[in-house]
């Protein structure tokens, strides 16, 4: 016990161990995790619904049946209208700010936990990796649910506006019409939404986690929220 040997170097933990700790933490803080995840879900749902709605409009216009379909705005005959672009940009901003905010809060209230883990011998990198895993998982799950909700919302709205014609021209896959903008297709949109949600969640949490991990433990533990 009474070592006088020179102080050794701390070892790296196997990845499985980090995975286990991060899942355990998500599971026990389930209620809190859900709230954080809901922030991501809302942002992505908004983005995906606006975007999908836009894709549906484009697809119906491309179908050449725009004159037969009631409700399709004739003024916005070709391409994306300025209004739509604005709506997409706005939803993107709401999404970015919402996710960054909920991740930031979720990490800040755990500064003390970070300090404590460092007291017990955690390396800075380990702490960051833990938050990266947790937020990546939360981001992906939240965004996937959000994308599906957004899709559902857009479909319901589309049904109301255009009736069942919607399903004949549903823009599921990417398409490049002869005269018109490239259409991403809903599947790709969902994938993009998920990736975006995950990346934003990871950035939103690993930056404050990295900052907290760099602090001396005494300082991290002093932080009260």
């Amino acid at each position: 016990m009474n070592q006088r040997a020179p102080i050794e170097e701390q070892i790296d933990l196997p990845f499985v161990e980090s995975l286990r700790i991060s899942f355990q933490s998500l599971k026990i803080r389930f209620g809190r995790s859900i709230i954080t995840t809901a922030g991501i879900t809302l942002g992505i749902a908004f983005l995906v619904s606006v975007w999908t709605n836009n894709e549906i409009e484009l697809a119906l216009q491309e179908s050449g049946r725009s004159s037969e379909i009631t409700g399709l705005d004739e003024a916005a005959e070709q391409g994306i209208s300025t209004k739509d672009i604005w709506l997409i940009i706005m939803s993107l901003i709401v999404c970015v700010v919402g996710i960054a905010n909920s991740m930031l809060m979720a990490v800040t209230e755990r500064f003390r936990e970070i300090g404590t883990m460092k007291c017990l011998g955690a390396l800075d990198g380990f702490v960051v990796r833990l938050f990266l895993l947790e937020s990546g998982f939360q981001g992906f799950a939240g965004a996937l649910i959000g994308a599906l909700i957004g899709l559902l919302g857009a479909v319901v709205l589309g049904l109301k506006n255009y009736g069942f014609d919607l399903f004949f021209y549903f823009p599921l896959l990417p398409a490049q019409p002869e005269n018109g903008p490239f259409q991403l297709g809903v599947l790709l949109l969902i994938l993009l939404g998920c990736i975006l949600g995950m990346i934003l969640a990871i950035i939103g949490s690993s930056f404050p986690a990295w900052r907290a991990a760099k602090l001396p433990p005494a300082e991290a533990m002093r932080t009260e929220v």
Binding site: N2, P6, C119, L120, E219, M221
Partner: protein, 243 residues
Amino acid sequence: MSDIVVKTEDVVKEYRMGSNVLRALDGINIEIQRGEYISLMGPSGSGKSTLFNMIGALDRPTEGQVYIDGQNMSNLSQRQIAAFRCHRVGYIFQSYNLLNVRTAHGNVTLPMIFAGIPDKQRNEKAEKLLDMVGLGDRMYHLPDELSGGQRQRVAIARALANDPSIVLADEPTANLDTITGREIIDLIKKLNTQQGVTVISATHDLKMLDVSDRIVDIRDGLVERIRNREEIEIQVGEVGGHE
């Protein structure tokens, strides 16, 4: 026996608060022998917790050096500091600082996970330690389901997980009632006498007096005086009367 485990040399710590500089430690020089039970005493704001943080490598001094086991702490790499916190020191805090997402058992195994101890071995060790602190029947409870005294026992078990040579206790009894506080002090003292662990405790709990080998009085960031056990024993009766 003059086996010095902790030595500080003119340790200064300043905190910057806006344009003001607060000098929490103003040149501290102490030497602590292996196996000693040391109490750092002083009113709040005296700098004792700051000194505690310096000795435990939880914060960096602004000036001066801290040597532990003859090693200058400011020369250590990140990895060495992490290993130092993991293996050589056990920390006990006033507010327990248990991870609320892990059970008592999970809290005790965590430092052993960081030390790379295999699953089975660390589980057994955690059970043994929790048994020792008298929590054998509450091992799988979350900290929220435990009383203050029980949480502090978990913290003690966790501090001992990697067989540290030094236990640092920052106001371990401040949040506890007198009787529970007494039990925690006795437990820490037992580690000191039976396992030869060096105990360094920041406190202003007078109950800590009669178990300490030496008391370092800190005032305004300076060592005011160092009292030995013999001098203390005279005062204990008097102090006990007030309790």
